[in-house]
Amino acid sequence: MSLILRAQVAAAAHDIVPAWPLDSFIAVNPLAGRESYPFETETTAEAATTRSGSAYLADYQRGRITRDDIDAALLERIPQLADRRLRIGTAAVSAVRVAELDMRLVAAAPAPEPVAVAELTWLDEYLAVWVAGYLCPDPAWPMPHHADGFYRAWRTLACLDPSLPRTVRRTLTTLSPEPDAALAHALQRLGITAADVPRALRTALGHLPGWVGHIKWRAEKVGDIDLTSYLAVRFTVQVALGITPAADQTTQTAQRDQTTLTSAPFWLRAERVAQALTAARPSREDVAAVARVLSTHPITDQRYTWQKAYELNYRTALIGALRSTVETRDGRNVQLVMCIDPRSEGLRRHLEESSSVETFGFAGFFGVPIRFAHYQARGAIDSLPALLSARHHITEIPVDHEQAHRVVAAGKFRDALRHAVHTADSTAATPFAFAETAGWFYGGISILRTLTPRIHARIVRALSLSPRDLRSDVTIADAFTLDERATLAETALRMMGLSQFAPLVVLAGHGSESENNLYQSALDCGACGGNPGHANARAAAAIFNDPEVRLLLADRGLPIPFDTFFVAAEHNTVSDMVTVLDRHLIPDSHTSSADRFEQLQRTVADKLVTERARHLPGASPRHSPARLRGRAHDWAEVYPELGLAGNATMIIGPRDITRNVDLGRRVFLHSYRTELDPTGAALETIMTAPLVVAQWINHQYYFTALNPDTLGAGTKTIHNAIGTLGVISGHSGDLRRGLPWQSVGLGTELFHEPMRLTVVVEAPLARIGEIISRNQVLRDLFDNDWITLTARDHPAALWHRYTAYGFTATATATPAATATPMEGPHT
């Protein structure tokens, strides 16, 4: 019985997407459970998958969608419309024109109600309080009996709960101590037949999706709670209080149907189109001819056509802008490897204006999955993609022991002060006098932070010696065997197509800097598990500089010249400054080129910060770079940077394709060269790892933008953190999922353009096809239209569009003249 029930719970939870805690924010596709179905299948009523017709029509009117885009989208979706013409009155009209006209007329009709936010039931609120109390990561008063597990702790305590009727409390004492048995018993008491159990479980798990997703994550990674014990509490309370499931479901009436549109009579629709096409009153034959065309394009499909047209507008311009010439690369002094993150694109573009720099894109963890702890630190970060688990532990060995001593002493002193203040603030009897005395200082800090955040930051910086200041080496040799290191290095070089080395190779991870921002982790490196990527960059540089590794690499056909040196760096995505790390490791022969790089970088960073200011709310290109960078230290700033807003495309191929093209920081750029990947293994890795991560990020932004209050986290301004676990809005309720509104929009307007990821690859089509057919996850994504793929064999070849039936050549595209889709997110 118990095993069957557990299996049923697992099956009911299959489609639920695990939710990572806030301090290691991992972007996910909130509808990942539906990826094995076509994008257009409407299975959940609560989630919008496209924008409204009127929004698309507005885009049409301002030229963001053109008539050509609509035509192309129609032909892509309904191939039988091609070359079909009909005679209306005296004029001949193409079927595509008829369908396009119909779309505009329909979109102009009144829009359906937006998705309503489902109200929480009493049971939801009750469980939200108990789960939050149980899972709280920094409790001042830990829940008693926590070690017994969620269900048992609840069972022990709920018998004493004064908010429950006495009779209920008495009955709770008779419960089984096992969650499985209690769940089975409760289901039986509710009269749910064995056949209905899966549905009942799925319905129950549909409530509180945020907490349920987090419990699923927690069951896998920590194990102190699971969905069975959660459901046991839920159903037991339901039985004990006699809440009928029907009454419980009444509030789940979030509706999103097309009543206003679908109820418009089909013939009327045809007549309106026919009328618009002829000056006079259309004849019955005309209406019938139009109706035959319209029947291929039902109203429910139209918003997908609009979305496709919206995406095609961007894709056409993008493909048209890509280059087909190969440059010879000579005289590069510096090669810079950056994360595929779209924010790298701006810096790479500006740096390449200098002919001495060549850049590459690669996953920001540089292929080195590690758990990293600072020297003698009490905690560590798992700096690796969410797809992997941490098996290699890395820390630091100080170079200068005297400095190390100072840093540790400063850290311990700081810890003593923090611990003392925390104790005074959180013990029961001390906060009163503490507020009376410390309050005056707090007030002063408040004034500084609000009026002059930059000065405050400077003071804080001057007063503290951070572990980041310690000169040290990373313990790469302890964490990986020589063979592992050589393999990591070889894989990385083959994946990014790096074989001709400049004297200086900079590996730049990236991290963001913001104050008072619970979602700071969402701005850090996704490939590093929502952490800044400096540790991985340092580890990777150490591996590439290792002479033993280089020997093995030479054996494997990838010799690195003796005079090439790798340095680690970190790209700050708020200030756009790149800081070279581990300067003490740079040999004298390379210090001058490192200095030159930093100098060049500084001027470029100013340009880029000013460029970004055009789209940043509250900023202006007229502001000084220092002022723009000050946003990192401003505790009132809810838009420190725009993160990955605007992301729309991933390009896998040599930088030659995109060099000197302004991609508006909207593109994931992964370097790849077929020549270095004879077996196709590197491409397969790229397509199954970085591509999938990019898709998660893309869909996270996509669905947050379309459902800011349900699949997104709503506005930051009422967020209420539960430790580092997550946020709720206001005083209680479900754990919020996705990104806050401030990541995708300003006021009531979106600045993130919701577009499904366009993947562009330059590699042999046959190889790409094989890789897709071998990997179910890619087949799901591409065949079901969750994302799209455009590819070409080599620079001289035509671009081909991937469809479920194979590649088809696309018409040679010309850059769009009117629209400016290459621009960044608009505000």
Binding site: A140, D161, A433, G439, A721
Partner: protein, 508 residues
């Protein structure tokens, strides 16, 4: 500058901001501009008030009073301190909100209602007579309710508005009745100087009833038992609203008690009730706070406990200490609210600090010995030198300070026993201890009401002290007093649970 103009300038800032922002908002100007102007205007008001305060305290022409018949406005010490606090914090929080609420469709609403609240609050603290105070008091309550409605489309926000309105409405009705009795008795407005004389004209039971009705309003505004059920439900409003609320409005209870002291303080029984209610709220809210998992929920119950402390001090007759606490706590709590998003960063900072080692028995002993010696020495010396007058109640409050300073210093030393910790810790403790005694002495000199005060006996402080220690021990208990611990924990958690809609159970 003449006195009328001075008073008008102190009061005017927020009202100018209300008008300007309402008009600008009406004509569709950007919320950003409106918010900037309003914050700047209120900031100017703060600067002016501070200048007036400095002028008055250095040149010491005493307080300013302007009247229209019996109705009057005054700039005495309390009015100046509170006006500076309210205007300063309001402009600071509005400055914060300029960026924090950028682009928010409700930004203009926030600016208008926040300034409405500020305006009424300044008017209230500057009121020199009963009728004017009552108008400002009710106005501030109404403005708060409007401010809480900033995110009206959210169900949570509406619940907060509703709960607040009901409790304020009930308590303020009692307050207005009491005020009406006073006004009718005097045949017109009563200045606070004449309040004692006016009240003593009534019969003894009437005086008592009057005092209780006045107290009720103070308890409701400061979210004290039995009116505690509104403050925890106000988190559906954006963070700056919470900062303003916790720094300003909830403090008003103490202002009312101090201004109406002539009608309340002579009644020892009423003062004991005030003291006990404050103490009970303090212990209750402290327990709930420990069990709350969310950062803002903890801040809410922390405020409630702190307000209990303040009301308790009023009940003990220590009005100056209550105002001192009020000011410091306002600065403290507004900072914590505005910085409610720092948890993730704090965690990351802690993670990178060196591993903490448990102190040896010797170090722990030394840490305790040093901190006890330093704390007691500093406070006794400061008290003897700076403020030699003692009463049981003031010694009781000083004991809280001693305990806090001792614990803080001991924890710092036990965490990292080093010369640096010792020097910095001792210096800070000494500075804070001396500063506390000196500042409190200053406040006491400036703020003691000139009426006989029949404060609750000082030994009542034992009640909250014992209550807090029991709560703390239960929260740390792993095996002891299990039933009591579970019981108290669950009751504390149940405060956050929704009210059960079904009062009967079904058999399992």
């Amino acid at each position: 500058m003449n006195e009328n103009a001075t008073v008008a300038m102190v009061l005017a800032g927020p009202w100018v901001a209300v008008l300007a922002s309402a008009i600008a908002g009406r004509f569709g100007r950007s919320g950003d501009l409106v918010a900037r102007i309003a914050a700047a205007v209120v900031g100017l008001g703060f600067v002016f008030t501070a200048a007036v305060a400095i002028a008055l305290s250095t040149l010491w022409t005493g307080s300013i009073q302007v009247g229209f018949g019996e109705t009057s406005l005054q700039l005495d010490a309390l009015a100046l301190i509170m006006s500076m606090l309210v205007l300063g914090l309001s402009s600071l929080i509005q400055g914060f909100a300029v960026r924090y609420l950028r682009g928010d469709p409700r930004q203009v609403w926030f600016v208008v209602t926040a300034n409405l609240l500020t305006g009424f609050t300044v008017l209230m603290v500057c009121a020199g007579s009963v009728a004017l105070f009552a108008c400002a008091w009710v106005g501030a309550g109404a403005a708060l309710v409007l401010l809480l409605a900033t995110y009206w489309p959210l169900a949570q926000a509406r619940e907060g508005v509703w709960r607040t309105a009901v409790r304020f409405g009930a308590a303020d009705t009692a307050f207005l009745l009491a005020v009406a009795v006073l006004l009718v008795g005097a045949g017109g407005d009563v200045s606070f100087d004449q309040l004692g004389a006016g009240a003593s004209g009534l019969s003894a039971p009437a005086q008592l009833t009057l005092a209780v009705m006045l107290v009720l309003a103070a308890l409701a505004r400061s979210s004290q038992i039995p009116f505690q059920g509104w403050l925890p439900f106000t988190l559906g409003a954006p963070t700056p609203v919470s900062a303003l609320l916790h720094a300003g409005v909830v403090n008003a209870g103490a202002i009312l008690l101090l201004r109406f002291a002539p009608a309340i303080a002579p009644h020892r029984s009423v003062m004991i009730v005030v003291c006990v209610v404050g103490a009970a709220t303090l212990v209750f809210a402290s327990a709930v706070r420990l069990a709350r998992p969310d950062v803002k929920g903890r801040l809410v119950f922390s405020t409630m406990a702190q307000m209990g402390f303040m009301i308790m001090a009023c009940g003990l007759g220590l009005f100056a200490a209550a105002i001192f606490h009020l000011v410091a706590h306002s600065l403290y709590k507004s900072t914590l609210f505005l910085g409610a998003g720092t948890g993730v960063r704090q965690h990351a900072t802690d993670r990178d600090l060196p591993t903490r080692t448990a102190p040896s028995r010797l170090v722990a002993g030394l840490a305790v010995a040093i901190s006890v010696t330093v704390t007691v020495a500093v406070l006794v010396a400061a008290k003897l030198v700076l403020s030699p007058a003692v009463s049981p109640s003031s010694i009781g409050l000083l004991a809280f300070v001693a305990l806090t300073a001792g614990v803080t210093l001991a924890v710092a030393l036990a965490t990292h026993f080093s010369i640096r910790t010792m020097v910095v810790g001792t210096t800070v403790t000494a500075a804070v201890g001396i500063g506390y005694v000196a500042f409190l002495h200053l406040f006491t000199g400036a703020l003691e009401p000139g009426v006989p005060v029949q404060g609750a006996p000082g030994w009542l402080l034992v009640l909250p002290a014992v209550g807090l220690i029991v709560v703390e021990l239960l929260a740390r208990s792993s095996t002891g007093a299990v039933w009591l611990r579970d019981r108290v924990y669950t009751s504390a958690l149940a405060v956050s649970l929704p009210r059960n809609p079904i009062r009967t159970g079904a058999p399992l």
